[in-house]
């Protein structure tokens, strides 16, 4: 109603004064309502009952086709101009308009319902459903307890307990968070920390450990340790780190355990899990005092501080006792590497745009098989100046192709409706071998500048894999725009977070992943689903089918209407160019509307040349679509030529057969009405057969539609040409008796048969020859399909990379957090770090700022314990 009110307001010429202040009283709804401020209900529905008809009609006539037909209809009202009755255009136009109106109304009602649900949506208790937290508390041996105690103590995670019992963990890496959460789920709840202490609830009992030192992580050490004093006064060093590093520092007594653990670790690594080895060591007070003294000296040293500290750490982290190993499953959703592999086979170029930091992004790149160790080189662009970025990009390009020209080859062309649109396309360049490119946000900012963007595009397109990390939402959209503009490629953006929205909107196709990241991405996307791996079904199966169906539909539609029209063209030579129609006016009205509508609808709903499993088996079936092979200007011309041929047959065969001939009782059959009936019957039968030839997938519905349409044609024709219809609507149905008098003639049927055969035979022969001489991939797969059993479903075996690096730990950690947790800085308010969204990775790691409410214990961490 607000809309209507403001509309009337404008109508009455009321001038709006700029609003400077608003009076509101907290929690006084009735007072606030007196001001008639706009409420904050979300409204995305377009119409109300009053505005529906005019607005919807206005919108529909904005479509070129509808406006064209409206214009045609107006022309047909003028008898001097029109060769047809008014209803030939009016009936189909009304039909299309009303169908669209019903659809729009339906959509709008649905939107209104969604609005309603969102307007509730503002409830604080609105949480995910799965509360069932598996609380498995291990009883028993001290080693197991020490294992989880270590996990609860040895980390740099920050806890945040806003409410009693609702813990938020902020971890620098997802692995850290996962491990702390695992410990918590096993009864060792990391509760809070101060620079000097760590509070843990062990099996329901609160224990406060004194934190003596954090031996921080760095890329050389590949481990971190904490030294704590328990309330009983026991000093312990807990250490976790890359297995190879830890094993070097173990006490010889652990030898047996090492063997077992090693075996486990190999298994985990084979499965692509990220592993850590855990160890501890009891310290005695005197050693500790002395070490602490030296530690203090070293950490305050002015020269070679790092070296000295490393030396000290080295000294204390030895003769460790192995506790076990952990393995963290990749946070990647199921089937991400397989999906990426499939898409790559389908010749789809994948760029990762992520807000994650470089190490994480690279790590994920490896784990989802985008970066591979057999790649010749992975270029990392991380310069801080425009010149630096330019140089790095150029160097990378030279390395990939030494002969590459300085200037990119840009092809300028025109495209679109009436070739009004200017396009510039950067040509692909040939590269031997596979390369990867990692570029960080800082460099990307320079690279996206006008003078560098083509260089970026060139270099990036030469690489198999492109990963942009630390990217802002705006940059994501810019990258998509860049590819759209200079590659003339169809882009698809997929993401789950709010910071992916701009990219999703910029791309041709936006896909939102619904999940824990909220609904913004989903709401702004064209498609949404819950798992990244459904992307391959979306593209390789449904996308491909959809393209195929659309192209077939278009080709068929052009074919049937061109043929229909060309026949009139030929007839013009025989009717004194008087624009007499070949067909009955009713046939013209119903041809597109009824007789040929359902079969092609069935085709465009059900057709599939290759079913879903074969589509997965051969992702390269997707490539013809990228090359626009099924419907292009060439295909259009071919279609026109075919129509031309068909129309020649469809006119001249009946012409020759009926010329000067008579019925088998000597009476007239070469009259206009009989000829019209013969020509339209031929046309319809040819169209039905042509559709049948195009249909690759004959469901019962297709059969019903094709036969039903033909039967419907004869039924409707006989009805319209019946005595009754003529006597009731004399001037509308002048074809009375034509069907009865001509369809009982053998030569009419012989003509129909001959015409159909002549239209179809060349098509069949041509297609057969093509299959024999130059079979397409589709033909081959279809042939295979016939002779072989269905391929098995996509294997869900984790065929991950066989990694030579056993621990991915190093890749998800960075230095410096140890200092942070021991300083007082973190007690100040730390701005909430929003988790940067990752292009391929959609299951949010536990590191994010979110309550630990979902089940994790069964899936994510895998603890291996010493027996």
């Amino acid at each position: 109603m607000g809309l209507v009110a403001s509309f009337f307001g404008q109508l009455c010429g009321k001038e709006k004064k700029p609003e400077e202040e608003r009076h509101l009283r907290a929690n006084d709804r009735s007072f606030n309502l007196t001001y008639r401020y706009a409420n904050n209900a979300i409204k995305t529905s377009k119409y109300n009952i009053l505005t529906f008809l005019p607005r919807n009609l206005f919108e529909q006539f904005q479509r070129l086709a509808n406006a064209y037909f409206l214009f045609l209809m107006i022309l047909q009202v003028i008898p001097q101009v029109s060769s047809l009755s008014w209803f030939t255009t009016a009936v189909p136009l009304m039909f299309v308009l009303s169908i669209t109106a019903v659809k729009d109304a339906n959509d709008d009602i649905k939107t209104e319902k969604v609005d309603f649900s969102w307007n509730q949506l503002a409830d604080p208790k609105f949480v995910f459903h799965d509360h069932s937290l598996l609380e498995t508390v291990k009883q028993g041996n001290p080693d197991a307890q020490a294992f989880f105690r270590l996990l609860a103590l040895c980390h740099t995670v920050m806890p945040d307990e806003k409410k009693e019992g609702e813990l938020y963990y902020q971890a620098q890496s997802p692995d850290e968070g996962a491990l702390v959460t695992a410990a918590r789920n096993f009864g060792f709840v990391f509760r809070s920390r101060t620079p000097e202490s760590i509070t843990v609830i062990e099996m329901g009992k609160q224990v406060i450990y004194e934190l003596l030192a954090v031996l921080d992580f760095n890329n050389v050490r590949k481990r971190m340790s904490v030294i704590v004093r328990s309330p009983e006064g026991k000093l312990t060093l807990f250490c976790k780190g890359a297995d190879t590093i830890i094993f070097e520092r173990l006490h010889p007594s652990c030898k047996k355990l090492v063997e077992v653990t090693n075996k486990h670790l190999s298994e985990y690594a084979g499965e692509g899990l990220r592993t850590l080895a855990l160890a501890y060591k009891d310290l005695d007070e005197s050693f500790m005092d002395e070490w602490k003294q030296r530690h203090h000296e070293a950490s305050t040293a002015l020269v070679e501080r790092e070296e000295k500290l490393d030396e000290l750490y080295e000294e204390i982290e030895k003769d460790l006792l192995l506790l076990g190993a952990t393995a963290v499953e990749d946070k990647l959703q199921d089937g991400v590497p397989q999906t990426i592999e499939q898409l790559a086979k389908a010749d789809i170029k994948i760029w990762v745009l992520t807000g994650d930091k470089q190490e994480t992004a690279e790590n994920i790149g490896y784990s989802c098989n985008m970066l591979r160790e057999e790649m010749k080189e992975i270029f990392i662009v991380a310069a801080n100046t425009a010149e630096g970025v330019k140089e790095e990009l150029e160097n990378a390009r030279r390395k990939m192709s030494s002969s590459s020209a300085d200037k990119p080859s840009v092809i300028k062309a025109r495209a679109g409706l009436f070739w009004l649109q200017k396009t510039e396309t950067v040509q692909d360049e040939k590269v031997d071998g596979e390369y990867g490119l990692v570029i960080n946000g800082h460099s990307l900012a320079f690279a996206l500048e006008k003078d560098l963007q083509l260089e970026l595009l060139r270099t990036a397109c030469m690489c198999q894999t492109v990963i942009c990390c630390r990217v802002t939402p705006l940059q994501k959209a810019q990258v998509v725009q860049l590819v759209k503009k200079y590659k003339q490629a169809v882009t698809l953006a997929i993401g789950d977070g709010a910071n992916d929205v701009s990219m999703i909107k910029a791309a041709h196709i936006g896909v939102g992943i619904s999940g824990q990241e909220g609904m913004q991405a989903v709401l702004s996307s064209d498609f949404s689903f819950a798992q990244f791996r459904y992307l391959q079904r979306l593209l390789l199966v449904h996308g491909r089918w959809s393209y195929l169906r659309m192209c077939k539909f278009l080709q068929y539609f052009f074919y049937k209407n061109f043929t229909f029209t060309f026949v009139h063209f030929w007839y013009a030579f025989f009717c004194g160019f008087s624009a007499q129609t070949v067909y009955d006016e009713w046939f013209i009205t119903l041809y597109n509307l009824m007789y040929t509508a359902l079969p092609v609808l069935g085709l465009s709903i059900f057709d599939q040349d290759v079913n879903d499993r074969w589509s997965f088996q051969y992702p390269q079936l997707y490539t013809p679509g990228q090359l626009n092979q099924y419907f292009s200007k060439k295909a259009f011309v071919r279609c026109m030529m075919k129509s031309c041929y068909s129309s020649l047959i469809l006119f001249f065969i009946p012409w020759a057969a009926m010329h000067d001939t008579v019925r088998d009782d000597g009476k007239d059959i070469a009259d206009y009405q009989s000829f019209a009936l013969l020509a339209q019957t031929c046309l319809l039968i040819v169209m039905s057969i042509q559709l049948s030839l195009d249909t690759h997938y004959w469901t019962a519905v297709n059969q019903f539609f094709v036969w039903g349409s033909l039967a419907g044609y004869f039924a409707i024709t006989f009805t319209m040409y019946s005595n009754g219809m003529f006597l009731i609507f004399t001037s509308a149905f002048p074809f009375i008796g034509t069907a009865r008098n001509s369809l009982n003639q053998p030569n009419v049927w012989l003509t129909i048969f001959l015409t159909s055969l002549l239209c179809i035979l060349p098509v069949v022969a041509f297609r057969f020859i093509l299959i024999q001489l130059r079979p397409t991939i589709n033909d081959k797969v279809r042939h295979k399909m016939r002779n072989e059993a269905l391929p098995a479903t996509t294997k869900h075996v984790h065929v991950r990379r066989i990694s030579t690096r056993r621990s991915g730990y190093a890749f998800s950690h960075s230095q410096g957090y140890g200092d942070l947790v021991t300083s007082r800085k973190f007690l100040l308010k730390i701005p909430v770090r929003t988790r940067p969204a990752l292009f391929t990775e959609t299951d949010s790691p536990l590191a994010q700022n979110q309550p630990q409410h979902y089940r994790t214990i069964t899936e994510e961490p895998e603890g291996s314990q010493s027996p």
Binding site: F606, D668, D671, V701, F726, F768, L773
Partner: protein
């Protein structure tokens, strides 16, 4: 199976949201039905050598005999055609076709002798043929009022606009209105058999049964058809005849069942032709009932074209072609023909279908051979080739 593997994972990611009232919003998960998951059972034919090649050979083998049958049938039909337009000076009809030489008081008749080389058995059909006459011109085709022709009284008095400019004359509605009716063929053709012994016998011509049954009984009706003691003259009172006609519509035939709108010559004319060259059934020569004699034995015949002379006295000032004695076609370089023909199960003489079937059948067979060779040489190699991954 793909779908079942999805089922196993269905719960992941599908969020069930619980509203504050505790009601669960419906999940958006599509139903797992064959229709919605695009798994409907289907027949998936492909073009293989096993289906295409036999089809070509079989079509070839079927078409050639059909074509031969059609061709023989068409050849057995006897047809005789004579042009009587009278374009040449030597033509007997030349004089009648020239308006200047015609004297309105005497009938103009032209006599065309012809010789039938073969006897014509069973019913013989007599057609008049017109060439270059565009009965299918859009504005011509439209120029009629089916309601009027169906006996509608209102339309009789107020003809449809479609009939313009042949709807009214002298403020009287024209019956039948429109350009089609106005241009009705009106030459009278008569046939004589010249006996070997020299006598000239007129051949009886039947003018009943030349129109479609549906036209005669459903589409065309005289106004007030149901009434008893129907008097056509009275019914058509207040209307005027079409400009080019010599007689009003109720004087077309003496027989009541062939007069007015249901006159069969008129009905035949009103069924407009699809093409500019056409023939229309004029009369039927019934075979003699004893059956021993051919309907038209071999011999000499005479065609007499009688141009109607009973013109109303007060006409002639406005339309030039009313001065023509014959049905005028010379102004548009038309031709008039008289055709005698027997018929068969496939209608009149038309060799096209037979020839077309023979040709298409042969082409099919030949194509079959070509495709077989192609398949033999290339097909196996290509289809067994592996699909590169």
């Amino acid at each position: 199976m793909m779908a079942s593997s999805y089922n196993a994972k269905d719960e992941d990611g599908h969020i069930t949201v619980t509203g504050p009232g505790g009601g669960t919003l419906r999940s958006k998960k599509p139903e797992n039905t064959a229709f919605k998951q695009q798994r409907l059972p289907a027949w998936q034919p492909i073009l293989t050598a096993g289906t295409v090649l036999p089809a070509f050979f079989i079509i070839g083998l079927i078409f050639i005999p059909i074509g031969i049958g059609l061709y023989v049938t068409s050849n057995n039909i006897k047809e005789f055609e004579v042009d009587y337009t009278g374009v040449d000076m030597s033509s007997p009809c030349f004089n009648c076709s020239q308006n200047f030489s015609w004297n309105s008081t005497t009938p103009c008749t032209c006599t065309i002798p012809f010789f039938l080389e073969q006897p014509y058995e069973s019913n013989v059909f007599m057609y008049y043929g017109l060439s270059n006459f565009y009965q299918n011109h859009r504005r011509y085709v439209k120029s009629r009022d089916d309601s009027q022709l169906n006996g509608d009284m209102t339309s009789l008095k107020e003809p449809s606009k479609e009939c313009e400019p042949y709807a009214y004359h002298d403020n009287k509605p024209i019956a039948p209105c429109g350009a089609i009716a106005n241009s009705m063929f009106n030459d009278t053709l008569e046939l004589f058999y010249n006996d070997p012994n020299g006598t000239k016998v007129q051949i009886p011509l039947t003018n009943i049964g030349i129109a479609w049954w549906t036209d005669k009984h459903v589409k065309f009706k005289n106004p007030g058809a149901g009434e008893a003691n129907q008097n056509l003259t009275a019914v058509f009172q207040g209307t005027t005849k079409p400009l080019n006609w010599r007689r009003p519509v109720y004087e077309l035939d003496a027989a009541a069942n062939n007069d007015g709108f249901i006159n069969e010559d008129f009905i035949v004319w009103m069924r407009t032709a699809a093409l500019p060259t056409f023939r229309k059934l004029y009369r039927i020569i019934k075979s003699p009932s004893n059956g021993m004699m051919p309907t038209m034995p071999r011999g000499n015949y005479t065609l007499e074209v009688v141009y109607i002379t009973t013109m109303s006295k007060n006409l002639g000032q406005n339309l030039f072609n009313q001065l023509n004695p014959d049905y005028p076609v010379r102004s548009f370089e038309g031709r008039k023909r008289m055709i005698l023909s027997t018929i068969s199960w496939m209608g009149g003489k038309n060799p096209f279908l037979g020839i077309a079937y023979i040709t298409v059948g042969s082409v099919c067979f030949f194509l079959g051979v070509v495709l077989l060779i192609i398949h033999h040489k290339c097909g196996n190699r290509n289809n067994s080739a592996d699909i590169s991954n």
